[in-house]
Symmetry: none
Subunit: 204 residues, 2 copies
DNA sequence: GGGAAAAGTTTCCTATAGGAACATTGTGGC
DNA sequence: GCCACAATGTTCCTATAGGAAACTTTTCCC
């Protein structure tokens, strides 16, 4: 198959982007000044050499990606600007975009799940909000287990996450955790009231 | 061989070569495959050498920023993900399970992102909490865009989600939305105070 | 002004990024 | 199996990134 296959010259348009190579140094110097750091301080914080930073700021070198990454973190630079946002592109607007309101609802003895989106076929992640009913800690079901990964964020309440391979983890509103959901797991509300959590699950 | 490798300010140990390169190569290879390009085609389109691309994908080199920029444009990779993976460390066969507290922190003019997990290499979803700074709606940055899907849940505040293909969507605490993040998108806080949202992002 | 300390630049050298050519590993057809 | 040919990997060489230290400039303070 023939890709765009232009000759060297065909790549020219890209080459004209070169200017921002010239701008990179200025951006970094500005960001450093902004934070009131000297070359020495900034370089040390980013774990790079003072002279390296000087050369970058004066556009006397083409730094490695790794070096730039460290600088970005240190100087809290905004990433997108660095890369010229080129025109694009295809993006199928196929996947929908729905205010997640009423989704499916499933209730068990312990949990009360509400799906946060509809039309699951086009989505890979599965977000839902669950109410974990306040109940006696002693009565204990079997583990929940489903191949994949899961992220959990506590919206309100206090609970303990029990897992098969780790010690129980006490959590309160605002806490979050990420785990392999193939590992058995389960939650118990530890306050008198129900706890509410947001789960985002990704199947393998 | 090592350069003198002084102990520095304690920053040194993590810095070295191996850590994040692991992910970079995979991301790029995945993106190339996604577009159905061979090494030759992709390299030519990005105006870099075939062997260079091979080495990058196999994490046998630490590419320059310029090279990565060209690849990003060619493969339509999006930036934030690239900068997120930080140094780390060892994991074990089993995915770990960490109370997400300290994550990386990245601040921009509009957003203030805090990653909700560490050790990204073993995780497919990327959860983070962002504060959307209250500001004038008129000043508008370019779209945020990164191939994949994204789920967003509003923790507090009021905001409007602007997107490339749909009409703006007003959201308040408790609302959530699921969309294709390849579609340009961005949030603006509509109350006087900052809004806070939870994002879970899944790359293609 | 002088002169000391801090900030920034340039020099010098080694390790390595990047690319051309060569080598290897698929992958289909017969 | 064997052969062609495409795709990817590896080797080798040159240009250069990155850092330590030498050097220059700026900034204070007296």
């Amino acid at each position: 198959m023939e890709p765009v296959q232009s000759e060297e010259a065909g790549l020219a348009p890209e080459a004209s982007e070169a200017p921002d190579g010239q701008v990179l140094g200025k951006m970094i110097r500005d960001a450093r000044k902004e934070k009131g750091l000297t070359l020495e301080e900034a370089a040390k914080a980013a774990a790079i050499g003072r002279s390296t930073l000087s050369k970058i700021e004066n556009n006397q070198t083409r730094p490695s990606f790794e070096i730039i990454r460290r600088l970005m973190r240190t100087l809290e630079l905004e990433t997108p600007q660095l890369f010229v946002q080129s025109a694009q592109s295809s993006i199928s607007g196929r996947r929908d975009y729905t205010l997640a309101g009423r989704g499916e609802h499933q209730e068990t003895k312990t949990y009360d799940h509400e799906l946060l989106c509809t039309e699951l076929t086009s989505k890979r992640m599965l977000p839902y909000i669950s109410t974990i009913k306040a109940r006696d800690v002693t009565e204990y079901d079997s583990w929940v287990r489903h191949r994949g990964e899961e992220f959990m964020y506590v919206i309100r309440g206090d609970l303990v996450l029990y897992t098969e391979h780790y010690r129980p983890l006490a959590m309160s509103a605002g806490d979050s955790v990420y785990y392999d959901s193939g590992m058995g797991h389960g939650c118990v509300s530890t306050s008198d009231e129900d706890a509410q959590v947001l789960w985002v699950s990704l199947e393998i």
